[in-house]
């Protein structure tokens, strides 16, 4: 027990020796983990976005250009009270402006305004979560069709297809890439820790010469390796959170309204956890090689 406490203590104060090497090691670990973290954050958010797209279906509703706009506005109010996700509306003028803007910034929209060929439209998002999704989708469709003045209700086959595609692909890319990241991070961290521990070769050798058992030698090295992994992981999470705070709102404006989400708790715990394990493991290997 006293020995165990002493070994733990040694593992911690080892970190205080050769501060510069320690500092370089720790920052390498933290930065590598940070880089992997950015990657994870990115993939996670794309995955989230794809999943939410997949679960939504969009109806695009077109009104008869001849139908009075006031009535259409009434209908818009009514529709927004339905059980839908969201609605975006375009008057013919807005649509024209949008078209003009999308083709070229300086197209003279006024020249077309008198003879606007565009109808009023609405983009309705509708969540497909829950049990009776099929019925609800069909019901929604017929309800929209029955509104007076509605000419057509279209849906988004391409977008739905894209989302389905992403899900199909992501299992082929998402997890392999995460795995690759993990492997690389592990290798970098392990290498760095080994480089660091090479500086302690002399100490390890002398400990063995004065009669230290291999567990006495290894345990503090394992403890410092694990600590370095842990501290590096926590530091990288801090950096990641800072980056996230800076980027969180960068996509949060119309028409995206995309908040970049931070990693979920399980990932947050996994990062320092994995690094701690890597630290342990690489120390273990480094020391084991040394003793032979």
């Amino acid at each position: 027990m006293r020995i165990l406490a002493r070994l733990l203590y040694l593992g911690v104060i080892n970190l205080g020796r050769n501060r510069w090497a320690q500092f370089f090691t720790l920052s390498t670990v933290a930065f590598t983990a940070f880089m992997a973290g950015i990657f994870l954050l990115l993939l996670y958010n794309v995955q989230q976005a794809a999943r939410s797209t997949q679960e939504d279906i969009q109806f695009q509703v077109y009104w008869d250009p001849a139908y009075p706009m006031e009535e259409i506005r009434e209908q818009w109010k009514e529709i927004s009270s339905w059980d839908i996700g969201s609605m975006e509306t375009f008057t013919p003028e807005e649509a024209l402006e949008d078209l003009a803007g999308s083709i070229a910034g300086d197209l003279d929209a006024d020249s077309l305004a008198g003879d606007n060929p565009l109808p009023a439209t609405a983009l309705i998002e509708f969540s497909l979560q829950g049990q009776d999704t099929q019925d609800r989708a069909l019901l929604m469709r017929s309800r929209l069709m029955e509104l007076p003045g509605v000419q057509r209700v279209s849906y988004n086959p391409l977008q739905v297809d894209l989302a389905r595609t992403w899900v199909r692909v992501s299992s082929g890319i998402f997890w392999p890439l995460i795995g690759l990241m993990l492997v690389i991070t592990g290798l970098v961290v392990a290498n760095t820790l080994k480089l660091n521990q090479m500086q302690r070769r002399e100490e390890v050798e002398i400990l063995a010469l004065v009669g230290a058992s291999s567990s006495y030698i290894q345990f503090p090295l394992l403890v410092s390796g694990a600590l370095q992994g842990l501290v590096g992981g926590v530091l990288s999470l801090g950096l990641l959170r800072l980056l996230h705070l800076a980027l969180e709102d960068v996509l949060y404006f119309p028409p995206l309204w995309l908040k970049i989400e931070f990693l979920p708790l399980s990932y947050i715990l996994a990062i320092p956890g994995v690094l701690t394990l890597v630290g342990l493991l690489s120390s273990f290997l480094a020391v084991n090689n040394r003793l032979r």
Partner: protein
């Protein structure tokens, strides 16, 4: 306490030890001498388990060196202490920490450690330097730290490789007195040295002269050889 029979050791094609045999009982004192490169350090390292026994047989403090598994080597090193020719102390740790190391490694309580280290440092005139880092002290002081680290564990066998090379005559004789005390109290001592005065100061000791790895007649010695 030490048995060595037909021991040979080679580095690559170079034979550093050739067919060495001798044996020591508890409390014996052996001087190991011979010109530079004769194989003294090599023999010490074999006895301490740092070099494997390649040919012949060797045992020390009850451990058969030929068949000692690596895992149990540390047990041998708790009985057999060594003073290295190149000290092998930790330069970035204090004198005190270096000397306390073998005791801490054994899990000794710190009050005991304190008492032992203090006594040993005093006997080697190192008390005033105990807080210095080892790279900050003089060559002779470092050599005494190496001796202190070896004797602090009260070993059954004490191997000392040229422990007076950096010491002046007075300190050398004082150190010799420390070794003699251990010898008198039953520690088996093997001391490698070039210093003939040291050898003459202990007439009762055995002497083993090496030359190019072989045991030879001691050319100058008035005393007999180790058998």
């Amino acid at each position: 306490m030490i048995q060595v029979k037909h021991l040979s050791h080679s580095f690559g094609r170079y034979w550093a030890l050739k067919n060495i045999s001798f044996s020591l009982d508890k409390g014996d004192f052996l001087f190991l001498t011979g010109p530079s490169g004769a194989g003294k350090t090599t023999l010490m390292r074999v006895l301490h388990g740092s070099l494997a026994v390649q040919r012949g047989v060797a045992s020390i403090a009850g451990f058969d060196l030929k068949n000692l598994p690596e895992k149990r080597l540390y047990l041998l090193r708790r009985e057999v202490a060594i003073v290295f020719q190149d000290f092998k102390i930790l330069p970035d740790q204090s004198v005190w920490d270096n000397v306390a190391l073998p005791l801490q490694v054994r899990g000794m309580v710190s009050s005991q450690v304190h008492k032992r280290v203090r006594a040993v440092l005093r006997s080697l005139r190192l008390d005033s330097k105990s807080r210095y880092l080892c790279r900050e002290i003089s060559g002779g002081e470092q050599q005494r730290v190496a001796v202190a680290r070896a004797v602090v564990i009260n070993p059954k066998v004490l191997l000392a490789d040229e422990p007076t090379g950096n010491l002046d005559r007075k300190l050398s004789l004082q150190l010799m007195e420390v070794f003699r005390q251990f010898h008198v109290h039953g520690t088996t001592v093997v001391l490698a040295t070039h210093n003939e005065e040291l050898i003459r100061s202990l007439p009762g000791a055995k002497i083993l002269c090496l030359k190019d790895g072989s045991a030879v007649e001691c050319s100058w010695g008035p005393e007999g050889e180790g058998a």
